[in-house]
Amino acid sequence: MNDLAGNQTVIEIVYLVASALFILSLRWMSSPSTARRGVRAGELGMLLAIAGTLLHHGIVDYKWIVIALVLGTGIGIPLGRVQMTAVPQRTALSHAFGACCVTLVGTAEFYLRTPNVAPFMMAVLSMEVILGSLTFTGSLMAAGKLQEILPQPPLTYRGQNVVNLSLLGVSIALAAYLVRHPGASHLFPLMAGIPLVFGILMVIPIGGADMPTVISLLNSYAGLSAAAMGFVLDSKLLIIAARWTALPA
């Protein structure tokens, strides 16, 4: 027991240092002369955070973690080497990935915890999953439009806003129901699925030229949803890092 507690202290201290490095990273980004140092600080902070997490005593199986980390790195390297002209698409795509991660973690957390989810926790979890889902498909749509895989011109039809908002409304109503009855796990896929459709419908009426605005909006959604995840996992590091992502927008 003592040993475990000691381990936990080490992890928290590592997270503390990582948080400080993240602050410095953004701080150094403010001027071109120190900006690259900022990137280094960010990288170091990220490495520390991941290494610290691997020390966690609850982790019993490393095999899949390592496989997933390697696969992710394999996908990340080509994404870091795209043409500079393709940066907007890449940014949109990475929002989609980030949102995907947060949504999946939220979903996993829900199924692990149901039916014993405290009301506040369930509300935060719902927010995480709803924002994450709509950011995921919305960002994919935005990336598709920017890459010109999808038609660029805006597609509008009568009653579009009514349809979109009522979809979102249904999802929020389901979330509210789940807050009261967290055992109703059959409703969860519906709550998480509707925002996926909403994300697509939200971006359809927007033309290619307005995409940057959409992307920064989706960026802030992704940040908020990750901050929500920080609350669910009780991780200060996550709350801090995610909170900033919501800001530049």
Partner: protein, 98 residues
């Protein structure tokens, strides 16, 4: 409300102010690299995914977690790489400016 929740809210509020103050000073020139850097930092969500996979509580949670780690790691790696590349371009093009 539990005390850890209150702590979380305090941190959320403080981080908001720090973030705002720090980012406000970033010159508009650097907004694009800043965006990709925060993107990489946002992928700190990988920490949560690692815990879920490592705890191996159910098949569903492990599968979801593995996909989540892959998605987040690709953001970390890709985000840092591209930010660095942008900044390198910056450095080489700077001396030509008056």
């Amino acid at each position: 409300m539990s005390s850890s929740l209150i702590n979380g809210l305090f941190i959320f509020m403080l981080a908001g102010f720090i973030g705002f103050e720090v980012i406000r000073r970033v010159s508009p020139l650097l907004h694009t690299p800043l965006m990709s850097l925060t993107n990489a930092l946002d992928a700190i969500a990988v920490v949560g995914a690692i815990l879920i996979v490592g705890e191996h509580k159910s098949t569903l949670s492990t599968v979801l977690g593995v996909v989540a780690i892959i998605a987040a790691t690709s953001n970390v790696v890709g985000g840092f790489l591209i930010t660095d590349r942008m900044l390198r371009m910056f450095k080489t093009s700077r001396p030509t400016k008056p």
